[in-house]
């Protein structure tokens, strides 16, 4: 999972770099594409800590360390609620 997260971080960097290059050096019809790439890259960036928590929850469940697994699940629930509440409002 950690390897997958490292790959995700590399993919995030590549997406942001391409979006940034497009937005700086290309104009016209490509501009909305550049903006979309940048938002996608930022979305991927925000997703990585969440995936990291999911990874820890899976590990703690395998170890049957339920209090720590529950703490991880609580973090995920809080984040999901907040992001949904802020962005839907």
């Amino acid at each position: 999972m950690k390897r997958a997260l490292r790959l995700a971080l590399m993919a995030t960097s590549a997406t942001l770099a391409m979006g940034l290059a497009l937005s700086l050096f290309v104009s016209g019809p490509a501009a909305p594409v550049a903006q979309s790439m940048l938002w996608l890259g930022l979305g991927m960036l925000v997703a990585i800590p969440i995936l990291n928590v999911i990874d820890v929850v899976i590990i703690e469940c395998r170890l049957k360390e339920w209090p720590f697994a529950a703490a991880g699940v609580a973090v995920l629930v809080l984040l999901a609620y907040t992001v949904a509440e802020k962005l839907i409002k």
Partner: protein, 270 residues
């Protein structure tokens, strides 16, 4: 040009952030706001996004070195997330000037605590089996030996994590500025473990603030945030490389110095 300067500032913020276990926001916000004349709310929004980038890089890199205490991070993340969410609601009632003063005072207090406990290492011999609740072992770069540590004053760690969550949202910084010194000076966690653990916490803590900033329209264009993030990722790599090559005492002095500058900035120059 502003994009280039944001990228370069991101490199500096990422390097210091990785080195000290901070998000790097305390360097980036004043730079964007004062030097590049970016509105404070936008500077804080960009900073919070870059905090997540630092956290991602440092937590993934420190996973290989096993220096972060993941269980401690998980518990403190939960408390810090509650604080960060509370902070998003407080934004409606607290003036920006009050936010700056609260942050400046806290940073100054923590800098004083670090300087007063400069030689405290918080490590036990590596053969110690009982490290207690949430303690652990790690490879000390200074001595090359496996050392153990015990977590002390858990309620203090919890309280500071909640405060860090609030500060993260209110000041647009990661909150590591509180977590690292508190874990190190008051809770018995060695500096490197505190820095790595804090980095894991910061990414999650910043998410409610980022969502709130997007909702409030403080991140109108993703260009600056992207430039900052790319800079931070480059800087974090540099900071992580430098980290094991400097002594803990130097790291503490550097952290105290940075906190004093930040405190003066927020208390007197804004």
């Amino acid at each position: 040009m502003i994009v280039l300067f944001t990228f370069l500032a991101g490199i500096g913020a990422g390097a210091f952030g990785a080195l000290l276990g901070l998000g790097g926001g305390i360097f980036l916000v004043p730079f964007l706001n004062i030097v590049l004349d970016v509105p404070l709310e936008q500077a804080m929004a960009v900073s919070l996004v870059t905090v997540i980038a630092t956290s991602n890089f440092v937590s993934l890199a420190s996973a290989g070195q096993k220096s972060a205490n993941v269980r401690l991070a998980m518990l403190l993340q939960l408390i810090a997330a509650v604080g960060a969410i509370a902070g998003t609601y407080m934004l409606d009632y607290i003036s920006p000037r009050t936010r700056e003063q609260i942050f400046g005072g806290t940073a100054l207090l923590v800098a004083a605590v670090i300087l007063s406990r400069l030689n405290q290492r918080n490590v036990l011999p590596g053969h110690v089996d009982d490290v207690g609740f949430l303690g652990g072992w790690f490879q000390d770069h200074d001595t090359g030996e496996l050392v153990a540590y015990r977590l002390k004053r858990v309620p203090v760690a919890a309280g500071v994590a909640a405060g860090a969550g609030v500060i993260s949202t209110l000041a647009g910084v990661g909150g590591g500025v509180l977590v690292v010194p508190a874990l190190n000076s008051w809770c018995g966690v060695p500096m490197r473990v505190a820095a790595a653990t804090s980095a894991v916490i910061l990414g999650v803590t910043a998410i409610p603030g980022v969502a709130d900033n997007v909702a409030r329209g403080h991140l109108p264009s993703p260009v600056l945030a992207a430039a900052g993030v790319l800079g931070v990722l480059v800087g974090s790599r540099a900071g992580f490389w430098i980290g094991p090559r400097v002594k803990v005492r130097s790291l503490k002095i550097l952290l105290a110095l940075v906190l004093s500058v930040v405190a003066a900035e927020y208390l007197f120059f804004k």
